[in-house]
């Protein structure tokens, strides 16, 4: 009986220490998040100063947007949610697409040219299809994907700094969300253990009184 109670006390102590550690980690990440967000706002303000007030506002948002960041959310056994940030690596994908399509165009062009020596009319059509293939490669990276381009072709460095600050904030937000979920789960477990302990002490107290 006493061993069980000692185990229970130990578990409760361990849970409390874990809880404290999690709160400390949360506090640290929060501070970093807050300072990064402020840095981002400051950079946006600097951009407004150089570009003009109306040039950096909700009016500049694109009419169509595609998300470049996704969050992988998974529910773990204890009921905690884990969040991982996934960012689309646009540039590498685009380069690959471009090279593949360029090679493809050349090959098909060559192949078709061989065929069209026999059929002269198709040559013109192929020359048109080659630039078409290239233009589709360019349009596969549409402008509305890159948010920087909403604000103009040449944007000041401060806007790019704002973007990188907010990108970091997004990654940190996913970590904080996971940590918050863990904290709530730890708290629930601690409450359950405290209740269990109280029930057990209530049961043993009447026994002691009888003795």
């Amino acid at each position: 009986m006493t061993e069980m109670r000692a185990d229970q006390h130990l578990r409760l102590d361990e849970q409390l220490l874990l809880f404290m550690d999690q709160l400390e980690a949360l506090e640290e990440k929060r501070q970093k998040l807050n300072s990064l967000i402020e840095e981002g706002w400051f950079s946006i303000a600097k951009t407004r100063y150089s570009m003009g007030n109306k040039q950096v506002s909700a009016l500049q948002y694109a009419s169509e947007m595609e998300p470049l960041v996704h969050v992988e959310a998974s529910l773990l056994e204890g009921g905690t949610a884990e969040f991982k940030c996934e960012r689309r690596k646009n540039k590498t994908e685009e380069l690959k697409n471009n090279t593949v399509e360029d090679i493809g165009a050349k090959e098909t062009g060559l192949r078709r040219r061989i065929n069209t020596k026999q059929k002269g009319v198709k040559e013109e059509e192929e020359e048109e299809t080659d630039p078409q293939v290239k233009t589709t490669a360019e349009s596969s990276t549409p402008e509305h994907r890159e948010p920087l381009k909403w604000f103009g072709i040449l944007v000041p460095q401060s806007l790019k700094q704002a973007q990188s600050a907010f990108k970091e904030v997004i990654t940190l937000s996913a970590e904080i969300a996971s940590l918050q979920s863990e904290i709530l789960a730890t708290r629930k477990e601690m409450q359950a253990q405290v209740k269990e302990k109280q029930e057990k002490t209530e049961k043993t107290q009447p026994e002691i009184k009888e003795e």
């Binding site: 809880f19 709160l23 506090e27 929060r30 998040l33 807050n34 967000i37 402020e38 981002g40 706002w41 946006i44 950096v56 506002s57 909700a58 948002y61 694109a62 009419s63 169509e64 947007m65 595609e66 998300p67 470049l68 960041v69 996704h70 969050v71 992988e72 959310a73 998974s74 529910l75 009921g79 905690t80 949610a81 969040f83 996934e86 960012r87 689309r88 948010p147 920087l148 806007l159 704002a162 973007q163 600050a165 907010f166 990108k167 904030v169 997004i170 937000s173 996913a174 904080i176 969300a177 918050q180 979920s181 904290i183 709530l184 708290r187 601690m190 409450q191 405290v194 109280q198």
Partner: protein
């Protein structure tokens, strides 16, 4: 249970939304409703609450970022949300710095200690 490729929603003032949209979280097209709401001076609390509830109801949103001063306006709706997904994260705004004592999550975590004091 896994959910891949969920979105991050944001309910905030203009600068907050601009910043996060620059970061690449925005989705806006004809088929689906946007995953962000720019809150201005004339935005009603009903609209904010409805948007928040609609984000909660969507299965493709993993995290909701909300300025803390806006969260204060719809505190009852945020406190009522007990599920792990989507997670609600309160962030500061330019005029209202982050206050840990107002955060729903931390208030729930703090509540535990008051129960222990009765021992």
């Amino acid at each position: 249970m896994t959910g891949r490729g969920k979105l991050i929603a944001v309910i905030g003032d203009e600068d907050t939304c601009t910043g996060f949209l620059l970061g690449g979280i925005g989705e806006l097209n004809k088929n689906r409703k946007p995953n962000f709401l720019v809150v201005e001076k004339d935005t009603s609390i009903t609209e904010i609450e409805e948007t928040f509830k609609s984000f909660l109801a969507r299965s493709d949103i993993g995290i909701i970022l909300i300025n803390q001063f806006i969260a204060e306006m719809i505190r009852h709706a945020i406190d009522a949300h007990m599920q792990s997904i989507p997670a609600v994260l309160e962030i500061p705004s330019k005029e209202h710095p982050y206050d840990a004592s107002k955060d729903s999550i931390l208030r729930r975590a703090k509540g535990m200690f008051s129960a222990e004091d009765f021992r």
